[in-house]
């Protein structure tokens, strides 16, 4: 298997940051020549996967795009592991933005 074959197996898999936090999926891959250079995550990459529904989803998700360099991938098991915290890549921002509001409600940490 070439590197691209391995990488294509990763398409649509869960990304986990260094603390095991779920922080997106592998929505697409950036490939240069025969080398995978980055993982592309975020609804902004959905229209290229599915024209109509993907575009709708992208619009709902405000077209956010995150590019994670391939060198940041530390492990590939049933999920894809990243070297650093999600926020270092700009991943999981939707959850981070919403958290303060949810956290204000009593019992949010139960």
């Amino acid at each position: 298997m070439t590197e691209i074959d391995i990488a294509l197996n990763l398409l649509d898999h869960q990304l986990l940051d260094k603390d095991g936090r779920r922080c997106g999926n592998v929505d697409d891959l950036a490939i240069e020549g025969d080398e995978v250079v980055a993982i592309l995550a975020g609804p902004g990459y959905w229209p290229q996967r599915s024209r109509f529904l993907g575009a709708l989803g992208s619009w709902l998700g405000r077209g956010r795009r995150v590019r994670v360099p391939w060198s940041e991938v530390t492990g590939i098991e049933s999920h894809v592991m990243l070297r650093d915290e999600a926020s270092a890549y700009g991943l999981g921002r939707g959850d981070d933005r919403l958290r303060p509001y949810i956290a204000k409600i009593p019992g949010a940490n139960r």
Binding site: L11, D12, H13, Q14, L15, R21, R22, C23, G24, N25, D27, A41, P43, W46, R49, S50, L53, G54, G57, G61, S78, H79, G92, G94, D95, L98, R99, Y101, I102, A103, I105, G107, A108, N109, R110
Partner: protein, 408 residues
Amino acid sequence: MNKIFGIALGILSAIGGFVDIGDLVFNVAAGATFGYQLLWVVVVGVVGIVVYSEMCGRVAAVSGKAVFDAVRERVGFRAGLVTLVASEVVNLMTLAAEVGGVAICLQLLSGLPYRWLIALAIVGLAVVVWVVSFEWIERLFGYGGLCLLVFAVAAVKLGPDWGKVGNGFVPHLAQNNKLLYAYFAIGLLGAAMTPYEVYFYSSGGVEERWTPKDIGLNRANAIIGYGLGGFLSFALMITGGALFLGHGIEPEHLGTIALGAEVPLGQVGLLLALVGILFAVGGAAIDTVFAGAYNLAQFCGWEWGRYRRNAGAPRFTLTWAILLVLAFAIVMTGVDPVQLTEYAVIFSVVALPLTYLPVLLVANDREYMGQYRNGRVANVLGVLYLVVIMVVALTAIPLMILTNVGQN
């Protein structure tokens, strides 16, 4: 000893958790229309849900993947997205039906106005999901649902013709009214194998942090829990057959279903039946609202799970809250929950193949599953059921139209 106790607790909650408003409606209605003739279909449906929940529970224990992770990985982005949309629509219909069912039960128990009780039901469900831990949610509703065992006592007390009951377990076609018979068969299969059950079951395995060590627990839960849950379905159908067949009574109201326990057992029977229905349907409302939030979060890659705490998975939390509000709006329109249930069950049948196929594929994946991948029995049954599901999915809507949603 502790371990056996834990397994017993899990099984008990699986029994109580199996029956939801779809099972209540279709089993009693099938009994009222065809007597005990369709009992064999319940067996087919229960074996199907056992096979597939065992599989997706095993996948969750070994790989940490829940069903919708598998859906997107295996059928691809586009088909996965279509499955997501379809499953969310069906889930929301089911959730609304279950919420309506809770409100009807509360109304029968308290006599207060229905619309107030819808609001009370939604607030009650939201508070339970917000405050109570995953394990205790399962237990609370599972044990409460065990009150439905009153229908087993009722079925025996009604003195059915046991010879005819026995014949009902032998697969056969109807002599007359073939279309309606087929419609009920599909409804019973759909009610037993509803997709939300596998979404919830597999994500629940991740919630409870299953590891390969829990594969035995998973198997026991699926086989014994769902198996005995099927036993409750038999009791409901037998009660419906013994009490309503030939009297022209269609159980179009949840109260009529509870009559099945009241006639042979009096007030105590009625009370137990209503409490059992309340917990069974309330538990199913929570299963469906979680299933909707799990699916969306897994498709999008968001953090999810009650075990992450409410603030630890913000978009997941917001999703279930929005789903509850939408369900509230649907039930407040005054739509009849029993009718909504019929539509939800029949439409969910159409979404079954795209949910179950990826489970079968991932359970066979050597890379993730290693020594825990499907054995021959699981694969033979899995493929067999996939064929059944395909046939059922293709015929569900035409049959619904031809029989005028079972009115004929």
